[in-house]
Structures are given as C-alpha cells and as structure tokens.
Symmetry: C2
Subunit: 432 residues, 2 copies
Amino acid sequence: MVQKCLRGRILTFTAEPQSPEDESAHLYIEDGALVIEDGIITACGTFSEINEQLSETAEIIDHRPALLMPGFIDTHLHFPQVQVIASWGAQLLDWLENYTFPAEAKYSDIAHAERMAVHFFDELIGQGTTTTVAYCSSHKASADAYFAEAARRNMRVIGGKTMMDRNAPAETCDTAQSGYDDSKALIASWHGKGRALYAVTPRFAITSTPAQLEASGALAREHPDCYVQTHLDENHAEIHTTLELYPDAPDYLGIYEHYGLLGPKTLLGHCIHLEPREIDVMIETASKPVFCPTSNLFLGSGLFDYEGLRARGAECAIATDIGGGTSYSMLQTLNEGYKVQALRGPKLHPYRAFYWITLGNAKALGLEDKIGTLDVGSEADIVVLDSKATPAMALRMEVCNTLAEELFILQIMADDRSISETYVAGEAMKAR
Amino acid sequence: MVQKCLRGRILTFTAEPQSPEDESAHLYIEDGALVIEDGIITACGTFSEINEQLSETAEIIDHRPALLMPGFIDTHLHFPQVQVIASWGAQLLDWLENYTFPAEAKYSDIAHAERMAVHFFDELIGQGTTTTVAYCSSHKASADAYFAEAARRNMRVIGGKTMMDRNAPAETCDTAQSGYDDSKALIASWHGKGRALYAVTPRFAITSTPAQLEASGALAREHPDCYVQTHLDENHAEIHTTLELYPDAPDYLGIYEHYGLLGPKTLLGHCIHLEPREIDVMIETASKPVFCPTSNLFLGSGLFDYEGLRARGAECAIATDIGGGTSYSMLQTLNEGYKVQALRGPKLHPYRAFYWITLGNAKALGLEDKIGTLDVGSEADIVVLDSKATPAMALRMEVCNTLAEELFILQIMADDRSISETYVAGEAMKAR
C-alpha cells in the first residue's frame, strides 16, 4: 500500500475546549507527521517517530511551517445559490422570492447544475472545506449533479433535494408525492454510496403543505440513518407566516415535531428567535441548531444565542449558509461568528472556534469517528493552513507568541489565501 | 506637460444618493477616460471625445473593463496598531491596556515607526485607500514617520500625534505641556506641506487631564485650519469611567465642548451610545461622527445609528479603525457596515455605500474640492476595481445586470484582490 506522509505542525481537537486557556482539549505537535494509506490516517505523531516507521517508498510532503488540521465541515449551505450571494437588500422572504427561487429554477437544467457543481466544490475546496451539508434545488437533477461531482472528488458530503410544494414559483415546486418519490430514488442512488449520505430536505414549513411534511416524516422513518435538514425561526415575518399556515401548532418547531422530523440527525438552520418550549423540544430530541453568522447578519435576521443554547445542552453546529451567507470560508464564518457573540458576550475564543468547525461539527453530525479529527482511523480530510498568507497577517504574526493567538489571527484575518492545500481522502485537491 | 490617460468605466458621485434607485447622484461612463497632468485630473469624459484632445505624447493606460473610481478615504485609523489587529477578546478598556498601549510604546523608536509606516501605507494602497486620517502614537517620532512616508508617496493624509497624559503606561504618555509643544512643532513641520494636513489628537477624555484638553483646545484655536480627532461614546464602561473623571460635565461630549474642541473639522470616532443632548451639540457644531463597523463589531461596542444621525442632519464619516477594526479594506468595512445597518434597518445600499467612502468622506473632511471625486480639477487619486477578481465573484457576476448590483457584489464579496491598481496623484502605486 502506498504511504503518504504529511509533515507540519499538527493540531487536532479531542474534546470541546472549555476556556481560552484550556490546553487539555487538543493535541498539538510542533514537528508532526501524519501517515495516510488508502485515504485513511494510519499514524499521527512526531515526525521523528513516524519517519522511523515509514516504508521505503513513502512519499513525504513537507508542509512546514504550516498547520495541519482536519478539513473544515460546513453544516448548512445551498448548492443552487452560488449566484445568489450578495443579492441586494431584502429580508428573508423577499430575498427568497426575488433572488433565490429564480436562481434555483435554473437547476432543472442538468447541464447548468453540473457546471455549477464544479464551481461549488472548487470554491469550497479552495476554502479548506471538505464536508458539506447542502440543500440542492427541488429538482432531482440538481441532487444528482451535487452527489456526482462530490463522488468524483471522493468527498464525504451530505445533501438532499429540497422539497417544496407551495408558496414558490411552479418551476421550483415538487408535489408531496413527487418529492417523496424523488427523495426515495436519490436515497437509493446515493445514500451510503462511497462517502455520500442523504438528508431529507423539506425547505421549511412555509413552502411545504402538511401532506409534504407528512411525506418527509415518512422518509425519515423509513430511512432512520438519513439526516433531516430544514429551517427554523430565522426571522419574525417568517415565523408569523408559518404560524398562520399551521394554526394548530403550538409553535414553529411543534410543526416539525408533529410530523416526526426531529431527532439527533436533524439539522435546524438559524434558530434565532426560539420560544422556551421550542428549546425544550430541541434538547429532548437532540436536534441540532445551526448557527449561520454571515447570513444572519447579511439578512438582518438577528443574533444567535450560542451560549444560551449550549448552557441548555444543545449541540450547536456552525455553517456558511451560502448564498444567504456572504462567504464560502469557514474562517470568515468564525470571524463574523465572533462578532455576533461579541455583541451578546461571552466571546468565541479561538480554541472553541477551531474545535467547532472540525470536531464540533463532526459530532453534531454523529461522524466524529470518520471526520473532524486527525486521529488514527479517520478519513484523511486535511487542511494545510498558512498564518502568514497576506502581508497584513505576516506583519501581525511577527508579534504572535502562542498557538491560541495564531488561531485567533486566522479566525479574524484569514481568507482562502491561508489555505495552502486541502486533502480529500488523502489526495491534494487544491493544487489539482 | 506629460499627459496620462486612463481608460475604463468611470464612476464618480456628484451628490448623496437618496435611494437604491437614485441614478441622479453619480456620473457613469461606460467607455470613459480621465486625463491626468501633474497629478491633477484635467479632463473626464468618453474615451472617444478625450482621445481627440490628447497630445501626441500622451500615455494611454487601458484598464477596461475595470471601474475607475476616486481613491477611498479612511477617516479614522491608528497607525501604531498594525500589529494589534485580531488581538483576543476584551472590550475597549482592557483591549487598550493589554494590547494597544504596549504596541504603541514601541513607536518611541523611530526605526520601528519608519519600518511600520512602510507596511502601513503599502497595505492601504493595496486596498485602494489613498487618504488616511490617522492617530499616531504619543511619540513625536511616530508622527514624523507617518508624514514622511506619506510624503514620499505624495499622499493626501491627515494625522496627528496622540496626546495622552494619564491612565496609560508612562512610556506612552506625554504631558500637557510636551503634548502641546510636540503638536505645535509637528504642525509647523507638516501641516500644509505637500498634501499633508494636521489633526490635533487627544486620544479621549480618559487619557487626558483637564490641563491637556485645555492645551488641545488652545492648539485648535491657534490652528483653526487643522482638524481635531478624538473618541466618543464607544462603550458603556468607557462612558462610565469618563464621567467619573469629569464629574461636572453634562455628558461625555460636554467635556470636549467645554474645551473648545468641537466644530466642522472635528472627527468623533464611534458615537454609538449618544445622549440626546450630545446629538444636539454634535449637530449645532457640525462635528462629524465616524462609523467604524468592523471595530464596533469586533469589540462588541454596539450598533451605530447611521440613519438616526443622518435624519438629524449629521454628516457621518466611515472608517476602518485599524487596529480595533479587523480589515484595512474600505470594501470590507462597507460589508460589515451593511450588516450593522441590516440589524438596525434600513439597509446601506450600494450607491450610498460607494458615495460614502469617496465623496461622502471627502465632504466630511471638507476636502471635496480636492479628493473623493473624478471631477476636473481634483487630485488624481484613483482606484481601479475588478469585480471578477476571485472565482466566486466571477461566478456571481455572470448574472449581474446593473451597476448597482455590481457595486453591491464589490461591497459584500471583494477584498484587496479587486484593487487592480491605485493611483496617487496620478502615479500607479500598487504595481510599484
């Protein structure tokens, strides 16, 4: 078996850091090395100890002085919105109508979807993101294009065709039955094939009839190893409209609860304006709230209560939410996540931040045995980080004394120029 | 006289745009040209009409399809904080003590100040910023380094040595007398020399004794053509401490008012938590509040009330506030400025945004006859903008139909890679 050995400064988290001073929750090796065989990390240690065990034919790739970290995980984004980013000026519901639905309508064209899938994954790889949890459009073809392109790159991705059968233009709508059938077919085609996993994806309660949410619940029951993803409590107008459409529901989350859509594999985008009962139900069902800072700020949705939800025991994920979000970068996402939390306090410290976009998101997905760490046995999704990638960063790094400081500089100042390389299952994808 | 002709898409504002649809407040020429002679714009029009008038020896530089706009103006930043950006986690007062004062202390060393001045202006030129209004450190040498480096680049800059004589480490303090004397000497050396202008710069009331504010007021009276810059109402702890130090003042702004520091040439950084009387006084004196979005978010200071202040007639400026701010880019500043306003509403539309960082800031400085426009007679500070600088932007631009949309894409997605060139008084500085 061909061995590949990456040399660099290794950083991987082992648990959630409890404070900026908590050095017990990560492994850091100054002159470290990883051995990769057949897409899996088979050794992790100091370069000197690793070097002794290497086969004669091993390829050593020296990334010093870069940091080697687990590839970043983006737990909520919209594949058909790559051309929607930075669309001017409305709040959620107008923004959907004016920009998003027209853009998504184009994904009925498989050639368009395939071309956009190449751009989508190129961009994410360029940002160090190796796992995406994406909404495709309502067209089965868009999900086929998404999974096919990810498979070509051997990426561990999660995704699903969006289900929506009302309150959207006809060309972006399915029906309760066709949404069920197409989802079922996609699960058969892609779920568990290679590294792909499927998420049942009713967009949100506004665009799904009760019959469609019923069908979504049936899919979730029939495929308990699939994920469920939807949106919750993003802004006030959305909540108001939702409750008008489901007048018998105790609250917004109660709708999803009623149709059996909650559980530890359920990802709920936004969760900004939660009622106390909703928080209780979220905790009881172990459903996962997903924080999307650049999107929440861009759409003026509000400030996610990360510390409040954590204190209640919620396992929060974090994500870009392209194209309501304004950057594909999980580092820029941390930058604005920091700023949202700075307005709420306490602040998002760098150990917690880098834990979050790696092991934290992996745990939220229940995939911590596969991704989000550099542990032996993990899939070799690895990002190579250069903290001096721009002149402004290099100047700042002159007076950087600790690992936590360096991570914070990456968290606040970095963009894709700091991603020297991104490995997917052991293959260098950025240079390629 | 040697003529230089820049060809490209010309965009310059003539007044403050009143809505996203207001096309009456700017001049846009699809195939435009500017003629530059001796650092001044001597013609502006369509390329075909300009081309007929050009001398035979004129150098034509073709920037198509880039946008040519006036160079950006940054109205509040701290030269000695280039190595402070992205310092972890406190609010204003701790942040000053833990990071800022130690960094500023180093600027007593002229060699350090000179080296940093090169980095500082390189970075800003790289971001398309051609005018800066900067706080130097309390050391006269730091202001000499700032102005000398700007003069070498022939930049129109404003700046001043910070005056602070208490509540800071001894090595960063002056005295009321030495602060007065050094400021006086710097005014004699630099104010009105070449393109430089001086700003009397008491940091803020916490770090100035009454005697020093008295001396600052004397400087302002003795040099009415100089600016005054200081900080106001950034966060609650700062306000509380300030009012303890000046128990007789009616409010924070009342302190500066008492010492004769207000007027149309006074720039007040932050102005987030204003009392009604402070707003009245600000309007009466035509003092200028300065919005620093990346800094306000990073330090968790709060949300600037841009629309409220505008409605009262305040002429607001906008700025990076490096190093409390997290980016040297006025485009990134607009991105986060948009997000701050999205949380407050109404949103900052792209015409207003690009007006603001050019003519708007020039007007706030009373320099609209010199900078911030491409009018004939203006100084030839010009930025060349590429809206497709990154793959993500190029993909988004495929479906861009209007100038306002293009500007919004620059406002939300661009960084220094979109700055193809920056001209200072007609000289290309970025390539250099």
